[in-house]
Symmetry: C2
Subunit: 124 residues, 2 copies
Amino acid sequence: MSRSDVSEFPQAPTWSKSEKAIARAVFDGALRREVLELMKEAKRRANQMQQPSQLWDLQYYLTERRKEVDRKYDYRYSQLTNVFGRLLYEKRISVDELSGLGENKLKPIRSLAELLTKDAAGLI
Amino acid sequence: MSRSDVSEFPQAPTWSKSEKAIARAVFDGALRREVLELMKEAKRRANQMQQPSQLWDLQYYLTERRKEVDRKYDYRYSQLTNVFGRLLYEKRISVDELSGLGENKLKPIRSLAELLTKDAAGLI
């Protein structure tokens, strides 16, 4: 499961020390909020279980969410603008939180968020 | 994931129609009770979650239990005496429930239950 060190995006911008600190905080905050949200939903589903089969529904639900979260929260610098672009689109983070990042990061982040918004609206 | 039709136990006894009906009821009853027990435990664990990481502890717990249950409740006639032997050892079923099965099934069931009991007690 090791990831290739060869960047898939040769033009991906480099991150300064201060940008890395901002990225880490925004990333960790969004991840924590999302997992706490899932935890709340898991408690709700657990408490509603009545039939034996619903136990495996919960197991499947959690396994799928775990895969999703692992895919989504990919802290490789080559992937971070994509990660933040998606989180911005999902309103899990705000542009304000990202202030301090260079325009070479903010631009692709905003672009992806806009693209996903248009896509979800059926405009592309 | 298809299972070989070639019996791993050539001496495994054949099951009559009435024995199959008893086996099915005992098997389903034990499975249902065990899953309901796990459901109760899952609710308890879900309600105790506080830290984000505990969500993945619950996911892992349920995934392991699911694998365990799938392995344990193997309704192939070639495996049923082993399955019931283990369930008898775990006190999930009683000898009374099995009445109606031929001695050629009851004997290996009791033998395995006794063997597992001795093993757990460190006697073998």
